[in-house]
Symmetry: D2
Subunit: 382 residues, 4 copies
């Protein structure tokens, strides 16, 4: 009997993070992949990641709509609850042997809780890292529910153990989000606009450009619009070609979106094109060839460090997360942001960092998934 | 403006644990109590605790049915999800300043998640303790979501801090479940049968009796029936008058109930009376005057230590929880259980232990609820 | 491509009603059966019909827990809502061509609404009949949502058409619940007690017995306990051997159950055995060999008319439903009930009535399911 | 004791329809208004009607987010289910004496089902009308659940009675959506753009303009984009100033929105301004002063007939609904639409029609709400 590994993919970002793991599970003779696609990965407004997933040859066993509209703290909580209700039914019907979840989003929490109460061993990628936002609390709470921990960095591994997890089940694997950066041609796709549409003036990607990706910070809800305005102003004044990526579906993303829309209406910026979604590899190509990546995405800390892309990290969302030397931190201030982006453009590419892994995390994770003995009853180590 | 303190009471047990806190909040000039009653506290099958609550003079701002029937791991997960969906709506409409939750049940988790995503500071009672069952994981996960921690014991306090919580927000208050044991007349109610009904032969409580309370262990789901059979057999053979309390609504409680029902049908035991629910004080009187309390309820570790009641703790559910000297641990084995109960009856009462508090936890907790400054953004301490 | 026919079975009763249809769909070369099992059909407390279903060789494509505990009007509404949420996800993933639903329960309504909004043609069995309880409103509302109507009686067919349905899609098929009564040996199973357990004193089914089945009337919520007490009293005084079947999970069933339990505790009746569930054929055997069937189940009107079993119908639940001559109607009054049962016992068996069909409904229904052209846009006929 | 009348307002449109009723209930000495605001009435993306409602001086007793994102048939069904779950909890806590619901949307259905199972009498406005889309089925299903029927037209009243409702509870009141058209100054607001924002080029409302409002037809899901393209093309070619209103949140609205967005990106139309929401009176002023209203909104049939506004009704959504002479019907064809709009502009205003009422419906409805005796048990009339 193959071990059934269920992975719940809920957004473009979570897909990028686990794609190499999905591939390895699917190819492993002792494992069966049960892919569930849910949340914003099903929504056109957030880029319809399901199409990318299916184009990559994965066949979901279930699709589950769980986002309750509102993009505020209340609906974020409710979406978590609805996801638990529905994922429990899915798990009941597909009976996974292990559920694998990634990072720290509300869908991660929902997956973790459904699996935990159903006595299904839970494996967790990216535990032990630090950040701001509610993600910080959720990530560590998921650690307390998980049976297998796949840490991206040595420090993360140590933190997971300090929190009381059994060291025998905390593995330093590196982050699988880097795996797709290895062995892939990361030169820019010439037809990126044709393939991924978006709105706004056409850009010439053969010429220099920067990339922006700024999410709401849920614990600073209602500040999102003011925060993004600073970034918009900075980018507008810098007047570089800019590929701007739409935010996640979180409390406050509606505010961020409104800020962006209002700016577009007022300023009609001639150099900024807005994208909703990319396949993981295309996103990697996009940032790999950018002069600079700015915003507050964890990809600026993680993938960009491996690629050596200069990054300007804005605000508190990545607070405390380990950084390579490619990152400059700034506050929510147009001038600061502008200066830092200029500085990073002048600096140019950084050397590759292996802080978050060496591109082989997927293989290591899947080996542990295939072989680990798991006791469903967890015990605090102290 | 008064600080609004929302407490979600979900069962007879959770009510007993926080009753003193509810009273203190209601009486505090700077606080307003928002009592939500939900889950098995609304269900007749589990003793209709809502009536006790209202008889005590508390007026719920909302009642929320969230138990999805099945009493198995799947419905336990689903009930958690449904509780989050609904509690979020309640919180949206009553806008608490702090949400207070207790212990480690699925409703605790639901409350914690709804509050967390809604940026409402979360206060948690009974964090840092150890046990078996899924409760063990859930308790520590709730700690990672909570902003204020009210630990019952010094060891618990230390564990919470070791898990990375800010020591400035981890308070040693003792457990409020002991508060109702102080200053209450704990002699037996003579009319206990008349008041609380139940099924089975009438007992004469002026004569010696024992008390049994055995819950399912969710991580040992499907063993519940076999486990309770051993206890039933032991009790049957001991042939003492026995007050048996119905189990919680958890995965496996249906199995436990079936075990009990089958036993009643087959053996028609002449000395065992089955109860569904007691007000906290009556439960305290019941165990205070018992020869012995056996089963796996945390009240055997907690309230019974304070009362000096001899306890036989069966199986893994209280694994690792700090014990006073009043507890003998045994496995799921009728003979072991029988011998241990006999030994405890011979021993008789133990001296009072203050391991879990001194009866003044409620006052301390409420003082911290009234005065604490809380930063909604949590940060791991290391 | 086969037409995919999805049937949602939600209780022992709904299974009995559609079993012949399930069989015919499964055997039809142009159809594929998608069986979903949900609601009380999954619950041990209501007889675990899922086991009967699987023993009959049917393999559900999904199991969905949707009963929210409380058995009151609020939880009945909420269970309907939860069922819609979850059935929509199931339909999304199995993509039926037609959804078939039966009768008038809240799960029927949930199935109808999920299918309707998802543009899946809806077929309905037992439309156009009259009764009391909320079922009366729900049945006609489902008619207004359905595309194909399979009426059990000529009068029902006419009512459906009078309500504005397209006569071309209203078929007089007879009721499939009668199909299992044909070509089945309906002599009593000698091992009925061994096979179906239940609680209460053992009965000797080779000797005369009566059968009772009394459900709550949702629109008379809170009267259920008083109502059942009358029946219990009548049965107790009659002092025949009695097979009593547990009520449905509806608003008020908890009240009915409590009435039964209290009666058992007080009177310890020596002639009444309580059953939870039977396979359809065993239920047919049970009533076929009974002296009399009393209560308010529609089977007293429907199956019993075909079998010629004398029936005492109590109260308003079957108000207005067409009757054959085998039925005496009485109010909620112990004396009336007692007298009527005695009268029916004296009368003995009635001749077979074909009012509700001839035992071939399943075949007719499946032929229409296979061949009907359906326009998803409904239009009122006037 | 006042009769508590609960009204669930779920969108800008449903608010406009019942505003006069809300006002009359609030002012009636024997009635208490319990206003619940839910669904798209809470969503910024659909115009944040809650602000208009609160500005009008109404204070909701509860806000309930229930829209599950996706805007497809599956999420429409799921939103219905979620709404039932949550409205049941609201009703449980506010205990209305009558629930009043309007028209035929999925939220109407959800409200009707929650009330029905909870034995709360249901009053329904706009029953008995005919249309296309799933609304057609839902409207009649709600009629079968409702206890009081407030019909807008004589024909509607007759249809409700033909469907088997008790004539004593079917009242011809006229439609309350017309009430706000009486005694209100319907000259154009000069500052409409300043007050209601929107996106697109500024219009000069002192000069001639047309209004467009085109919703998805749920039973023609996936055609919405193609359908709206025809209208967009027609409007673009006509080259009048155009106020375009965003569609409802229904299955297919995302498609309609995408069609609109793509058109804006490609054509950058210089004469079309897009609005999200208006207070009812402002919407009335907007259409009252327009050359022509085109699309498929029921307001083209209803309010516009009273105002004598020339209307071009496109496609099947209003199929069968009674029309005054102000309506020209066309198919989904740019040329047809263009020609019809031109014809209507040439024609100019029509005389006022009282087909849908005389502006006093609210008063009549509230009198019946205050005085009607209601039997919770419904009975089909034949």
């Amino acid at each position: 009997m193959k071990r059934k590994i269920c992975v719940v993919v809920t957004s473009r970002a979570s897909y990028a993070r686990v794609k190499s793991v999905l591939r390895e599970v699917a190819n492993h003779p002792g494992l069966e992949l049960q892919l569930v696609v849910s949340a914003s990965a099903l929504l056109d407004r957030f880029g319809n990641a399901i199409q990318v997933i299916e184009n990559d040859g994965f066949h979901p066993v279930a699709r589950v709509y769980i986002i309750i509209e509102g993009e505020n703290p209340t609906t974020m909580a409710k979406s978590t609850g609805l996801a638990i209700v529905e994922l429990a039914t899915v798990f009941e019907n597909i009976k996974p042997d292990i559920v694998l979840t990634v990072a720290d989003r509300f869908e991660t929490m929902a997956t973790a809780i459904a699996a935990s109460y159903m006595n299904i061993p839970l494996a967790h990628i990216q535990g032990g890292e630090k950040s701001g936002s509610i993600d910080e609390s959720v990530r560590h709470a998921v650690t307390k529910l998980a049976h297998l921990h796949f840490a991206a960095t040595e420090e993360s591994r140590e933190r997971i153990i300090r929190m009381g997890e059994n060291p025998a089940h905390v593995f330093l694997t590196g982050c699988p989000s880097l795996d797709i950066l290895c062995g892939t041609d990361l030169s820019l796709e010439s037809d990126i606009l044709k393939k991924y549409g978006g709105v706004g003036p056409l850009l010439d990607f053969s010429k220099p450009y920067i990339v922006i990706m700024q999410h709401p910070v849920t614990t600073e809800y209602l500040s999102g619009r003011a925060q993004v305005k600073e970034t918009l102003q900075a980018v507008y004044e810098l007047d570089y070609q800019t590929a701007w990526l739409w935010p996640n579906v979180d409390a406050g993303s509606d505010e961020v979106s409104k800020g962006i829309r209002a700016f577009r209406e007022n300023k009609n910026p001639s150099q900024i094109h807005f994208f909703k979604n990319f396949p993981p590899e295309s996103y990697a190509r996009l940032i790999n060839n950018a002069l600079c990546l700015a915003g507050n995405s964890s990809s600026g800390i993680r993938e960009a460090s491996f690629l050596g892309v200069p990054v300007v990290n804005i605000g508190t969302r990545q607070y405390g997360r380990e950084r390579a030397e490619n990152v400059i931190d700034v506050g929510y201030d147009a001038n600061e942001i502008k200066k830092a982006i200029r500085k990073q453009i002048e600096h140019g590419k950084y050397p590759q960092s292996n802080l978050y892994g060496d591109g082989k995390a997927g293989k290591r994770i899947v080996a542990f998934l295939a072989d680990s003995k798991i006791n469903i009853q967890k015990k605090l180590a102290y």
